[in-house]
Amino acid sequence: MKTRDQEYRELFMAEALEYYDSMSRHLSELERNPNAGPALNELFRLMHNLKANARAMGFTDLGEIAHHLETIFGLIRDKEREFSGALIKVVFAGVDALGSMIRAVGASQPLPDATALLENLDRVVRGEAPVLDEAEAGETEEESNRKMELSDLVYIQVKKLDNLLNLVGELVIDRDRIMTLAQELDNPALLATAQHLFRISDDLQYSVMDARLVGVGVLLNKFPRVVRDVASAEDKEVELTLSGQDVQIDRNILQIITDALLHLVRNAVSHGLETTENRLKAGKPVVGKLTLSAMTERDDVLLQVRDDGRGIDTEAVRRKAVERGLTTAHTAAGLDKEAVWAFLFEPGFSMAQKVTDISGRGVGLDVVKLALDSLGGQLRVDSEMGVGTTFTLVLPTSIAVKGALLVEVDERPYAIPLMHTDTVLALHPGQISVVGGVMVTHLHEQSVPLVPLRQLLYDEGVEPLPAANKSDIEGTQHVLVVNYNNRRLGLVVDRFMRQQNIVIKPLSKPLDTIDLFGGVTLLGSGQVCLVLDVPALTRLFLAKRP
């Protein structure tokens, strides 16, 4: 595995080489036609970008040369210098030097000395005559060969990577099948080949997944502008801090959560952070703090949007939820703050008093929830009145392969993504009480409702599930506790099978309308296994509880 450092270096190289190629092209054009405006602008832009990249990577000299050349092209553009005579030679020498420096970076060699060149560039900038060394004019064959080098990187359409990933998914399913068959047939040669196939396809899978990873930075770096715009529209002062830009995640996941993140950030600036006046009143610094950070946690990626604003007014949300008929006043009174905050993610639930351009149209946080649900992700909220709010998006690193727990009900396997599983319990009847027809157990001082998965899946109709009866609970109950939107639910299953990485295939029409399933997966035995969708299961339970 390459280190991230190496990977950045390669990315820098790829971009720099492209810039270099374009520079050479535009420079030739400029030489033919010294008044070519577009070429000049392009050169100015390329130098500027190269300068920024080089400085970010710590290649000071490279950055300096690009900086000087940028200045010179700026002067030419402003008609203060002319692209002619000695200036052309110095500029070409400068671009050639950039080329050899970029190649030195690629070969991990020390950068060539550029003192003489920089002095000359300085002179040109100051409008003095450069000192030209005639000996340097000749170019060796080696140098001209170098100019023909092709980049080590290729750009590739995401669609092609998607296709590759799907194929690998199919391959993995068949591989598992072959592995099982080989074990059944017990032929040593076949078994050895199957094991080899297993290893290779594993490597292949991870390579394809790795190829799809991008730094979260490609998304986060777009936010300073967004925050600036929203803040100025709201007349607030906001300081945005980004961190964890180099955390790696599947490109498509980043795509899917773009809108969600945008929403959270806008929301934080326009609702989370107080007005300047209110901040002063509360004794807070005038400038609001907004932090966007990414980090990894086990196999997941956490994206956090944190503000130091007013925090969520839990009581206001509670009132609003009752007003909107989402819950009864009686139930609402008994809910803890996490449960109350969960209402924020109900469709159309908005706390905004007035509609603004930025947010507050009653469409909102449910968008965030939907995006996360579609990825099998989770959303955590943490907030304290007057101190601030933190939204944490828990995302899988990769879409294709998910860790799942396989459980059995009526001799059929079902898979539940680990993303939503909390813990597994083996309870004896004494640990289960029945409250209002619902089985309940206590876990970490919290009561967790239990429901037989069989009932949830196979009881037809809209009528509530049959009330549980204490006397019906016999023997050890195998319970898988799942967690969705801060709600925990215990699913009673026949037995736990194993934990396994699964490749989820979406359900095809016409069955794709059943939201209870996130898809299907094929087990090594060739058996079809339904993947349960925990958000939908939780909703079904809430709708049908006795």
Binding site: E170, G461, P510
Partner: protein, 176 residues
């Protein structure tokens, strides 16, 4: 699996020729023979392991893995109330994989389906009164009379298997 009897080897039936041929895959539902045009049939196979699918109408038997594709398996006898009393589907049944507009479905049948080639002229439009009174009216392409007696009801899969048609849930209340 199914040996298709290619009666016309010349791919282009000439226009002048009066007898344009159609190939059907014929199977039994209840006590009647039904046919589907072979273009709409993807494959005929012994019914694979079917996983029951919760929250679907009873005539959807579940989903099965057909060469890597996950398809829904439906039981038309149950769908059309054709199941003769006391004759459940046998342990070993067959599945005709048919292509709907943009997906594949499996039809479970009790006997090995057989291919049949006949002149198109032999298929007659279903009589008006059948069209109106039958629950199957829309899916009937016509009725084929066999020379040796007997009829085959020719179904048009594309009309039978629209998602709304498949998911129309007789006797089943919506779940959510």
């Amino acid at each position: 699996m199914a040996e298709i009897d290619t009666a016309f080897s010349s791919a282009k039936p000439e226009r002048a020729k009066p007898a344009e041929l159609v190939q059907l895959i014929v199977f039994r539902l209840g006590d009647e023979d039904y046919g589907i045009r072979i273009e709409q049939v993807k494959e005929v196979t012994v019914t694979p392991d079917v996983a029951r699918m919760p929250k679907t109408p009873p005539f959807i038997k579940g989903i099965a893995n057909l060469r890597g594709d996950i398809i829904a398996i439906i039981d038309l006898e149950e769908r059309f109330n054709l199941r003769p009393a006391g004759r459940p589907l046998p342990e070993r049944s067959y599945t005709v994989a048919v292509e709907a507009a943009d997906y594949t479905l499996g039809l479970m049948v009790r006997e090995v389906p057989r291919p049949l080639t006949m002149p198109l002229s032999q298929i007659e439009a279903a009589p008006e009164f059948v069209q109106d009174s039958s629950t199957r009216d829309k899916y009937l392409e016509g009725i084929a009379k066999l020379p040796e007696g007997g009829i085959i009801i020719v179904l048009d899969m594309r009309k039978l298997l629209t998602p709304s048609e498949v998911m129309r849930l007789p006797g089943k209340v919506a779940s959510s």
